[in-house]
């Protein structure tokens, strides 16, 4: 049973989120730039930190170390209030302008593998963000777990977004 939500009301570049089967979450969006440029925005830490945490969210990105090449490692440190959270892992496969594959190693159990692909579509880029969980239980855990952290963040996000569309 797949569920898909796409916001068709917002211009042409809608973000689609889909739960696929038992173990996969897929997010897609088209960007108006060549894959080379979109890839750079994902792989250069200075550029990445400009957009990964939406402005106005209750979390801030304190540290962002990324060595985006096959076998390289990353470490993201977030702060929310007086708490900090770390996300880290390593890059399994990096092909500039085409794809980035990384592990998510912050939890004690086996984490998801994230694959981002950049597909050239006549000068635009179809970006696919794909998370594959080791088991269906792990995906459901992640759904309820990350949902726990989302409400405050989303409250602020809502404010931010309504402010932007005003």
């Amino acid at each position: 049973m797949d569920q898909q939500v796409t916001n068709h009301s917002v211009a042409q570049d809608a973000t689609s989120v889909e739960r696929k089967g038992d173990r996969e979450l897929v997010v897609t969006r088209t960007f108006n730039a060549a894959p080379r440029i979109v890839f750079k925005a994902w792989s250069d830490p200075e550029l990445f930190r400009k957009w990964w945490v939406p402005k106005g969210a209750s979390m801030t990105l304190l540290a962002c170390d990324m060595d985006v090449r096959t076998g390289g490692k990353y470490r993201l440190q977030f702060g929310a209030g007086d708490q900090t959270m770390e996300f880290f892992g390593k890059y399994l496969d990096v092909v500039p302008g085409e794809r980035i594959v990384w592990t998510n190693d912050e939890s004690d159990e086996e984490g998801a593998v994230t694959t981002v692909t950049f597909e050239d579509q006549g000068g635009k880029t179809l970006l696919t963000f794909h998370e594959l969980y080791p088991t269906k239980e792990a995906l459901e855990e992640a759904m309820t777990g990350s949902a726990a952290g989302l409400p405050t963040q989303l409250d602020q996000l809502d404010e931010l977004l309504s402010g932007m569309s005003a």
């Binding site: 796409t6 957009w51 239980e137």
Partner: protein, 119 residues
Amino acid sequence: MVQYVSPALDLSFAALADATRRGVIEQLGRADASISSLAEKFQMTLTGMKKHVSVLEKAGLVTTQKVGRVRTCKLGQAGLKAEAEWIEAHRKLFEARFDALDKVILDMKQEEENGPASD
């Protein structure tokens, strides 16, 4: 703003974590069915199917109604709605990210076009 972590949502994820129960949901998406016909379709005992249906019912994914001696199951709306809400929350997060990424990309393109020549 909707509370995303609710006992109802937990229940619906737990209910959907089982392949048979997902099959039942899928089946009921096509047509209402009695518990006995579901038991037959999924090749299990009536008691086994009753347990699955009861889990789905508690999660609000299925409603049942007894008419005469037959208990008919149909799809409930509550649980599916909660999962859709979770996905919508995720979509909002990614959309905010990607809107910001759009701006970063626009800056990069402008910089490439207008920026100082590198050589």
